[in-house]
């Protein structure tokens, strides 16, 4: 029997944007339901330890933004807004969505939907990147901050952007020896990033917190370096690192081999945009090339009754997410028929514009370096799910042309359970760097139901229910 819920506003995602959206909508009077894939609300940044772990001994020292997280989580709990945890939303239409939980299907009917689905690490393929023990930067943070594990003994951390610092400090706090901390971007990117941070008081505090922890750690961040290859039979045992030029292109003149049992990689973030694509929201390229739903000044997408906030409309960090969530929550409540005073809207809109401006500068400081896609060798897998090698993509492109849909049919790249979440940006990256294919010629990939794999039985049940 399908579980059905009715609400004025359904919020998908319980990170800073989703929590702020739910609170704002609730305070405007709306009946709100939050849906989240995690076991507990908080999202990736306000990750809460399992209740069974008790409360003694937090892992790493709390960052300033975590006070905001505690406040949001507390306020949501006090507001009585239900959080449906551990649910995977696999279908959305204006006014209704379907989720799976432990093999059971649920349907939420809501006058307004807020997409606050967040983001995940952008991956760049290199030889050996599929070996067990090579994980994303976010994965390492979950291990330490969410599960209180020491994920390895000797780690190499590589990637680009400000999120490398919290990853490094988390690993250090867990007692992992970081044998190399590699930022692919040149030092000038860091300086531009610092310039962006200085324009926001909250970000200044957050940056100072991580910078201080990093300086105390004694670690050195090597700028213009990255991981070239991971080695091992059935788990990572060693890595080759090396220098890259300003565009990220590997230079083969300074290669070093290091022993390591953990490799953490994160080349910026990409938005979790599959529900926005499934809802057929008009999608735009963000400044980092990611596909994001177009939103108006009040976070409304092109589809009536669908709003979006936070990382899914452009990587921007926790303060932008909260400001946008708040605004989207007000707008969603108003769409559902609740009255929101114009001055509340004006204040929320102004704050959103301010925060987003800071994020844009920060994002621009750490662009996706196109040359990094030259790290992959001909045998390197570019699609993990379907085991598709770079060479096969090149051969298919030579035969059939560089259209993503054609390449998908010819090679199966992007047809596995990740549904392109990991490999879509990789395919664009390698086509651009290896074959000179302009990424802007590719249209935004369509998202089919289910947007995450579920049992056929669940899919049929949901489609029957939704009609």
């Amino acid at each position: 029997m399908t579980r059905t819920h009715a609400a004025d506003v359904a919020v998908i995602g319980a990170g800073p944007a989703g929590l702020a959206a739910a609170l704002a909508a609730r305070q405007a009077g709306a009946v709100v339901t939050i849906l989240d894939e995690g076991a507990r609300p908080g999202g990736q940044i306000f990750r809460q330890l399992p209740a069974a772990f008790g409360t003694i001994g937090q892992p790493a020292a709390d960052a300033p933004s975590h006070a905001l997280g505690h406040a949001l989580l507390h306020d949501v709990e006090a507001s009585g807004v239900p959080v449906l945890a551990r649910v995977t939303v696999f279908e959305a239409r204006p006014g209704a969505l379907a989720y799976e939980r432990d093999g059971e299907v649920g349907v939420v009917r809501a006058k307004a939907i807020v997409l606050a689905t967040g983001a995940y690490d952008r991956s760049v393929p290199f030889p050996g990147w599929t070996l067990p023990g090579v994980v994303t930067a976010g994965a390492a943070q979950v291990m330490v901050r969410g599960q209180m594990l020491r994920p390895g003994t000797r780690a190499v951390v590589a990637g680009t952007g400000p999120l490398l610092l919290p990853t490094l400090t988390a690993l250090q706090a867990a007692g992992v020896r970081v044998v190399a901390a590699l930022e692919a971007a040149p030092r000038t990117a860091l300086l531009r990033g610092v310039g962006a941070l200085l324009r926001s008081r909250a970000k200044r505090r957050e940056a100072w917190h991580y910078a201080r922890a990093f300086l105390r750690s004694g670690l050195r961040l090597r700028h213009g370096w990255t991981v070239f290859a991971a080695h091992g039979a059935d788990r990572v045992a060693a890595v080759t690192i090396g220098r890259v030029d300003r565009t990220g292109r590997p230079r083969r003149d300074h290669e070093q081999r290091l022993e390591a049992d953990l490799v953490c990689v994160g080349f910026g973030l990409e938005p979790s945009n599959e529900l926005a694509r499934r809802l057929r929201c008009t999608m735009l390229r963000g400044p980092d090339g990611s596909w994001v739903p177009q939103v108006d000044a009040r976070m409304a997408t092109s589809v009536a009754g669908v709003f979006a906030a936070g990382e899914v409309v452009g990587i921007g960090g926790v303060d932008t997410a909260r400001a946008e969530g708040h605004l989207a929550g007000l707008a969603a409540a108003a769409h559902a028929g609740w009255t929101v005073a114009p001055e509340r809207f004006a204040q929320a809109e102004a704050e959103r514009v301010r925060e987003r401006a800071v994020s844009r500068t920060l994002l621009a400081a750490f662009p996706v370096l196109p040359g990094l896609y030259e790290l992959a060798a001909p045998d390197t897998l570019v699609c993990r799910c379907e085991d598709v090698r770079l060479r096969e993509v090149r051969e298919a492109a030579a035969l059939f042309g560089p259209e993503l849909r054609t390449l998908k049919m010819a090679t199966r790249a992007g047809m596995g359970p990740c549904q392109g979440r990991i490999c879509a940006s990789i395919l664009e990256g390698v086509l651009a760097s290896r074959l000179g294919v302009d990424p802007h010629r590719h249209a935004c990939p369509a998202a089919q139901v289910p947007v995450k794999p579920v049992a056929a039985r669940c899919l049929l049940e949901a489609l029957r229910e939704l009609g």
């Binding site: 894939e37 399992p50 291990m143 007692g175």
Partner: protein, 103 residues
Amino acid sequence: MAEAPGPRLRPESARGPRVRLTCDGVPVEAHPGETVAMALWAADRRTLRRSTRLGAPRGVFCNMGICFECLVRIDGHATRACLAEVRDGMRVETIGPAPEAGA
């Protein structure tokens, strides 16, 4: 933080009572609140799956439900090990060609 023995940062005594699961028939001890992926990681098991075409070892990659690399069968149902929390008596089976001994 002081170097602690084993991969669990909190003393095992503070993690609540142990639960027992099996992975491909091998017993694994874990604690409530741990995910299946992390309980297996703590048990030093890195390979959770063999890839579809090449049979290559795969394990935790994103740890947040995005990549589906940690897809295992839990009590008969295909499930992401990084999102499922352990339960006493849980039966975890890896998918794909059988892993070689010691993997």
